[in-house]
Symmetry: C2
Subunit: 446 residues, 2 copies
């Protein structure tokens, strides 16, 4: 697919925040045509995946058709395909479906996947939470342990309703809050015969605080709020092994559970390793401040796929807003290159960070100001922040209002165990043997 007209061809890999915002910016230019390749036909809204996992939102609420998002731009072509190889030298991409694309510019925005740091059993037994697919799997697991325990309440003694979340960053903290709310709310009502109050959410982090990227007072607020919701927080503790039926911690204790959620770190998706480009922390592609890759003219790497260094010399965090802004910036630099002008270093406009801790509490830090928010105000703030992020994605404001309304009124939890997501649990698995020779301690608390 060689460019057959005068327009420069930009090939973008990945329709996440970075890739999509880059495509949308380029779509307005007459100088380029764009091919956006993604293995899914949808853009996924990562910051809300934890709500898909806890049945608060449906798949259609956190996934938007890429074709819809880019509709009406004849110079943008969306192709659904799984990238098999990318050659940064020739700026060519081939897909498993057998297509190949060659760009004048190549934008790598292929995102991340869970980084298990070699933890025994984690890849096999833990539930990551970075994609719609992973969130659906986790949702099904949560609903399945409740159904199984409802049929056989003895499973409660075997930790069926213990949920262990590894990683106290925003994803882990938000999930812990939402899950605790779900248990104390919907599940308590829906399983009146089951001792749902024995259900327990554990949040484990090897660091000394939750929400490490936030200020110290926010750490305390998050911990206090989660404890009020019944979450047991274990700080300064790492995970040694994840078995099918328990997790082993660095202090020698273990927790019986069938649901270990891995929110403990990310690494670049496998494409990074195969592209022959310089990789840094987490396997992410090293980029110059202008988001290009040294030695590979016309190649950009963005979002979670790249190590982006801010003006202060620090690595930018893996945030949707960083990804979105650098996508636009890369588009600007590409258009500058075409116009024969110079590229400029990416400047991140920090709008602050925010984490929801369940439905009724949030912490937001904007500049040096910290806001602890409760009740409807927390929701309103959350709404505002996500409206800003979504405005680039959703075509119609009605959709967002509608969706927010659904969320706020709590009227329609999507507790649907889709056929295809149901993985039956073998409750006898792991019951006899421990993990890698470690004794399967059955203490669930120190």
């Amino acid at each position: 697919m060689i460019s057959n007209d005068s327009k420069k061809h930009v090939v973008i890999i990945g329709g996440g925040f970075a890739g999509l915002s880059c495509a949308r910016k380029l779509a307005k230019s007459d100088e380029v045509r764009v091919t956006l390749i993604d293995k899914n036909n949808f853009h996924q809204f990562q910051p809300l995946l934890y709500q898909l996992a806890t049945s608060e939102l449906g798949t259609g609420d956190v996934a938007t058709s890429l074709r819809q998002a880019l509709q009406g731009h004849p110079n943008v072509d969306v192709k659904m395909g799984e990238v098999a190889a990318a050659n940064a030298r020739s700026r060519t991409v081939s897909t498993r479906e057998g297509e190949s694309y060659e760009g004048d510019f190549l934008v790598l925005a292929a995102g991340s996947q869970a980084n298990f740091f070699g933890t025994t059993g984690a890849a096999e037994n833990a539930f990551p939470l970075y994609s719609v697919e992973e969130a659906q799997r986790l949702r099904s697991r949560i609903l399945t342990v409740f159904e199984d325990a409802d049929r056989d309440p003895k499973l409660l003694e075997r930790g069926a309703l213990n949920f262990v979340i590894v990683g106290g960053g925003p994803t882990g903290t938000e999930l812990a809050g939402a899950l605790a709310d779900m248990i104390r709310g919907a599940m308590m009502d829906e399983y009146p015969d089951l001792a749902v109050k024995k259900a327990k959410v554990y949040l484990v982090d090897h660091g000394s605080s939750l929400l490490a990227a936030f200020s110290e007072k926010a750490h305390a607020y998050a911990a206090k709020t989660l404890r009020r919701k019944g979450v047991e927080i274990r700080l300064g503790i790492s995970v040694k092994a994840v078995a099918p039926d328990h997790v082993l911690l660095s202090d020698g204790t273990s927790i019986q559970t069938r649901t270990v959620v891995w929110a403990g770190g990310l690494m670049a998706s496998p494409l990074a390793a195969s592209a022959g480009l310089p990789q840094g922390h987490g396997g992410r592609i090293e980029v110059r401040p202008d988001l290009t890759v040294v030695g590979f003219p016309g190649v950009y790497a963005l979002g979670d796929f790249a190590n982006i260094t801010g003006e202060n010399g620090q690595s930018m965090p893996q945030l949707a807003s960083v990804a979105q802004q650098c996508g636009e910036w890369a588009a600007k630099n590409i258009l500058a290159e075409i116009a024969g002008e110079g590229r400029t270093p990416f400047q991140y406009h920090d709008k602050g960070i925010m984490a929801m801790i369940g439905r009724d509490a949030a912490v937001a830090e904007i500049g040096k100001k910290r806001h602890e928010l409760d009740g409807p105000i927390a929701f309103a703030a959350w709404l505002g922040v996500h409206a800003l992020l979504m405005s680039g994605v959703r075509q119609r404001i009605e959709a967002f209002v509608n969706w927010a309304w659904t969320y706020f009124t709590r009227s329609r939890p999507i507790q649907v165990l889709d056929r295809s997501d149901v993985e039956r649990i073998d409750w006898d698995e792991g019951a006899e043997s421990g993990t890698s020779g470690t004794a399967p301690a059955v203490r669930t608390a120190r």
Copy 2:
């Protein structure tokens, strides 16, 4: 699980319209406790499955958690389980999960599945549309053929965008209208490079009219409306065979396609054959006018699972409203039995029948009156009818208003190819050989 208190135990198999309305009616009585068993954790709203298949609604819009629907009734126990065997003599039920239940009353409302009438290849290659699972599979197939054709436009010549719907009843007619709207609307916009206008919807029925249960003028209206939308209607024609890449018709022609939707008939779910009860047309359980089964005291059969004879001696149609009303009626008869009173014959209150033909047209027949509705009026009528049906299921009116709003504003088609639903198409399958020795004619029109 023997009843251990003075309340009579009613075991209901199936959480469809019949089983759920029966459970809801019984829930209000102090005389009974109820166990409702379903293989899914949700009630599915069959009349709208065609909208799930055409991406107009999401899974959460047509599936409602059974536990939520029955929440707040301590005498109702929902159990997710797949019934392996039901003994009508002892009124015992065992599930594949290893549970067993014994009732003073047994209510069989296990629903239907597609009846392929032995058509060669239909079970393997056609897409039924009776369950959420089947609607999701069909949705994925529709989205997949568009994506595949977008990558390789030559597939158009091989019928990639031909859609053949077998059966001109309400399901087939409504799907044909919705699919034609989807193609001429969303798909035309989203695949600007693809010759989407070559996409073609065929509606095949062996009878002499569409919507046979409606009046003659309605037949004509449905046909005229669908033709205006570009649907090709083939009446008086039956399907001889369904191959992976084409369908062979009784007039000797064949249509190249990868998407044959089977809306051509239903039969009772397999449980009916194994229960040792009298079966009639479509394998459905024969019931007395009071919905009980002759020779099996305390056993009721309802909805699509039963052959219900109306006061005029005719079989009741397989309609949600019939199922819903007979569920309530069975509950009334069970309570009468417990009170030592007589059972009464089911009286169906016919509120009329309605079919939507795409988004902007509908035909409704109430009593002897026929209404042909266009535009917003058609939508309003549709809204009213479904609000009535849903009122028994949804707890909160907001949910319904919200959902109707989504539908009406068309703001959020759920075009998401879920990981787990994606079945890749082997485009070479069937390309060389015909079906069962029949020549693979490649004419797509007479």
